[in-house]
């Protein structure tokens, strides 16, 4: 069984490490983490993920910008993105740039089961 490649972009190093640990523990995913928004695009180009978990609020380059870069990249434009956000309301997500319009999002904190099922759901789409 080929493991799906998941790129996790979040400025919280501990969080990305914990996501990696839990997802890889399932045996279904190969996870790479990136803690700087500005490096997310190059990491994606290099890693070629099947799905990107992207934090919304990051210093310097936020999730919306990263998503736009990926969308604009021909090789990556079809890669599904799931936003991870500490902000819970829909309105607030929209206020954050509206870049996540069209992309599913999941609020922090999230349980592993819920995260896995959401990833699988998006990968199958």
């Amino acid at each position: 069984m080929v493991k799906k490649k998941i790129l996790v972009v979040d400025d919280e190093k501990d969080f990305t490490g914990m996501v990696k640990l839990n997802l890889e523990a399932t045996g279904k995913f190969e996870v790479r983490t990136e803690n700087q928004g500005g490096k997310a695009l190059s990491a994606a180009r290099e890693f070629r993920p099947d799905l990107i978990l992207l934090d919304v609020m990051m210093p310097e380059t936020d999730g919306g910008t990263v998503a736009a870069q990926i969308q604009n990249n021909a090789d990556l434009s079809k890669t599904p993105i799931i936003f991870l956000t500490a902000i819970v309301t829909k309105e607030e997500v929209e206020e954050a740039g509206g870049a996540i319009a069209g992309h599913p999002f999941i609020a922090k904190p999230v349980k592993t089961d819920r995260l896995v099922s959401l990833i699988e759901e998006n990968l199958s789409n």
Binding site: E12, D14, M18, V19, L21, L84, V88, P109, T112
Partner: protein, 684 residues
């Protein structure tokens, strides 16, 4: 509102108390004024009458007095004359007779002793160039009680040529009322009638007319008389032969004073007229008349004056204008209960039955003036009564006018008071309304201020919450994933599993708190749409249904039909209702009843209100905590069981809908929340 109306009504009834008081006072004052003025007017009329009557009595007294003075002067004239001649007598007396009305006839009766009689008669015949004989008077009445005064038969009885005095006002119609003849025993009428001439000494009184008088010791025959033209037949009539005159002569002789006879009726051209005679004694000039004996012995003769009462009164009227006063004359020296000898009725309106009002009738009965006066040794009484004309002429409109005027003034005063009170009431009502408005506005301002404070508070909390949410959720997310990892790693270690589970619960709790904070900070935005409140209630109930079952709580639902649609944010309103339901469920714990009701409340004024009531049967809320129940972070639940933000968020959402939320403890047990949608714009 009811209380306000009732108190206002009570206030109004007291306010208008001066109106009936003013009416009563005005009416009473008018009535009192009427009676006072009536009394004053009555007194004025009474005084006026008394003055007028007194003047009349004085005038009558003066006229009588003047006439007596004439007789007195005649007496003095005779007394001082050496040898009295007829012409002297006539010349002296005639001017008075033509001017002094009322004194009808004056005669001189010398005292003639029986021994001198023949000489006297002879001398008289010589002087008169005709018949003269002393003859007796008759005290008898004429046929049928009427005096035989016909001029043809007895010209001498007519009292001289009539000198018409001032016309007797009204007397043509009413005339002096000759009193009915007196009874013989009380006051014998003195009717002087000459006997028919017969041969001297040929008869006596008993011999009838023409008989010679009985011989007496002395005689008082008429020698001179004025006016004499019509009185010739009276020459020789002996005054002493009439008992009334004889008594008067005797009294005059003995007293030396003028003596009046009792009233009798004098023959007049129109009939019999009331009158009387006054006897003046004349003594010998050179002889003493100090003692009774002297006076009896030295009497020279008597002067007789004949008075007509009616003419005296007529003459007195000349002095005073007729004001409408009736005059009555009585002889007080006569027998008791004797009738008035003369009454003079004023020609003015004299009939009390015509146009006389009660006051005038009362005055007519009341007003009477009596004055007694002495004249000729007799007491006379002059009585005056007013006529209706006298009273009506002195009445004014004041007493009658003061009552309607008083009522009119009262009416105006009452009107003024009402207008003042009305204005004052209006002003006070306005003040009350404005005060109420101010109180309302003040309350609203305070509420607004509180809301602003609350909003500021909330804004700070919201800003804090947003920051906290971001900063807390990231580590929470890390922990959550760590817990997940650990739970897989310690599957075989029971104690570790328990620890990890507790950590999982703690993360959940922390997440709930942060989520509540974010909800709280983001609750001010509404997505309003016209909604059926009952539907939102039903949906909210559905969402907590599993919790109701889990806690074995009975639901009592009573939703009113026909509620008007409201502008609501469905999601937020569901959040509100779920919060309230959950609050009740958590308060009751296990078992209990949750009542949910909606209703349309129609108030007297304004638009109808839509209310939702959520009641539980829990322990209720301690009274001292009721005020704080909606404050953020305030909770009655044990630590860890509530964030203290649920009811705060609920109230925010409710107030954003311009609605209100109230909480109170039920009388039995449990708490009751009432949501009231009163904003006009919300209800269509």
């Amino acid at each position: 509102m009811k209380t306000y109306s009732r108190s206002f009504k009570r206030y109004s009834s007291k306010r208008y108390l001066p109106v009936p008081i003013a009416i009563c006072a005005g009416f009473t004052l008018s009535l009192v004024s009427y009676f006072i003025l009536l009394d004053v007017e009555t007194e004025r009329i009474r005084n006026s009458f008394n003055n007028s009557a007194r003047t009349r009595a004085a005038a009558i007294g003066k006229v009588f007095g003047d006439r007596l003075l004439i007789l007195e002067s005649v007496r003095s004239f005779i007394y001082s004359s050496e040898q009295l001649e007829r012409d002297q007598f006539t010349d002296f007396i005639r001017p008075f007779m033509t001017s002094e009305i009322g004194l009808e006839r004056v005669s001189w009766h010398p005292r003639v002793l029986d021994s001198e009689r023949a000489d006297f008669e002879a001398a008289a015949r010589r002087e008169l160039l005709g018949e003269y004989q002393i003859i007796p008077m008759s005290g008898e009445r004429g046929p049928e009680g009427m005096p035989p005064h016909h001029e043809e038969n007895n010209p001498g009885m007519i009292i001289g040529p009539r000198q018409k005095g001032p016309p007797r006002s009204g007397s043509d119609e009413q005339g002096p009322e000759a009193r009915p003849p007196r009874s013989e025993e009380h006051s014998p009428d003195l009717f002087i009638e000459p006997r028919q001439m017969g041969p001297p000494g040929s008869g006596s009184d008993e011999q009838g007319p023409g008989a010679m008088p009985t011989r007496r010791d002395e005689y008082f025959p008429v020698l001179y008389i004025e006016p004499q033209q019509m009185s010739r037949p009276m020459f020789g009539l002996d005054a002493l032969t009439h008992p009334v005159l004889a008594e008067a002569i005797e009294r005059a002789r003995d007293s030396g004073e003028a003596i009046a006879t009792a009233p009798f009726e004098l023959p007049d051209i129109t009939g019999m007229e009331p009158g009387f005679l006054v006897v003046f004694p004349v003594y010998w000039r050179d002889e003493s008349h100090q003692s009774l004996n002297d006076r009896s012995k030295n009497l020279l003769g008597v002067v007789l004056g004949s008075f007509s009462v009616s003419k005296v009164i007529d003459a007195s009227i000349v002095f005073v204008s007729d004001e409408g006063i009736n005059i009555y004359l009585s002889d007080l020296s006569g027998p008791e209960n004797s009738d008035e000898i003369y009454s003079w009725r004023s020609p003015s309106q004299n009939d009390p039955d015509k146009n006389a009002v009660s006051l005038e009738r009362a005055l007519l009965k009341e007003l009477e003036y009596r004055e007694s006066t002495e004249m000729g040794g007799r007491q006379w009484e002059i009585r005056c009564t007013p006529t209706v004309g006298f009273i009506t002429a002195r009445r004014t409109w004041y007493p009658v006018g003061v009552f309607p005027v008083g009522l009119l003034v009262t009416g105006l005063a009452v009107g003024y008071i009402i207008s003042i009170l009305g204005r004052s009431e209006k002003v006070e009502r306005m003040v009350e309304e404005r005060t109420a408005q101010l109180v309302r506005t003040n309350k609203e301002l305070k509420e607004t201020q509180l809301q602003l404070i609350q909003a500021a508070k909330l804004e700070s909390i919201g800003r804090l919450a947003a920051g906290v949410a971001h900063e807390v959720k990231n580590p929470l997310a890390t922990i959550q994933l760590g817990v997940d990892y650990l739970s897989n790693s310690v599957k075989d270690h029971a104690e570790s599993i328990e620890v990890v589970q507790k950590m999982d619960v703690a993360v959940n709790r922390a997440d709930t708190v942060v989520r509540g904070l974010v909800d709280f900070s983001r609750s001010e935005k509404l997505d309003l749409e016209k909604q059926d409140l009952n539907k939102i209630v039903e949906e909210s109930i559905r969402l907590v249904n599993h919790k109701l079952m889990q806690h074995h709580i009975t639901l009592k639902k009573d939703l009113a039909l026909g509620l008007p649609p409201l502008h609501l944010d469905t999601h937020k309103m569901e959040q509100v209702l779920i919060n309230l339901f959950m609050n009740g469920i958590q308060a009751m714990g296990q078992e209990g009843t949750l009542s949910v009701r909606t209703r349309l409340k129609q108030e007297k004024e304004g638009t109808p209100l839509v209310q939702v009531m959520v009641e539980d049967t829990g322990p209720g809320i301690p009274e001292e905590k009721l005020d704080k129940i909606f404050d953020p972070f305030f909770t009655t639940k044990p630590t860890g069981k509530g964030t203290g933000l649920g009811l705060s968020v609920t109230r925010n959402i409710v107030e954003l809908h311009d609605a209100t939320i109230e909480i109170h403890n039920r009388e039995s047990n449990g708490a009751s929340f009432v949501l009231t949608f009163r904003n006009k714009g919300e209800i269509e």
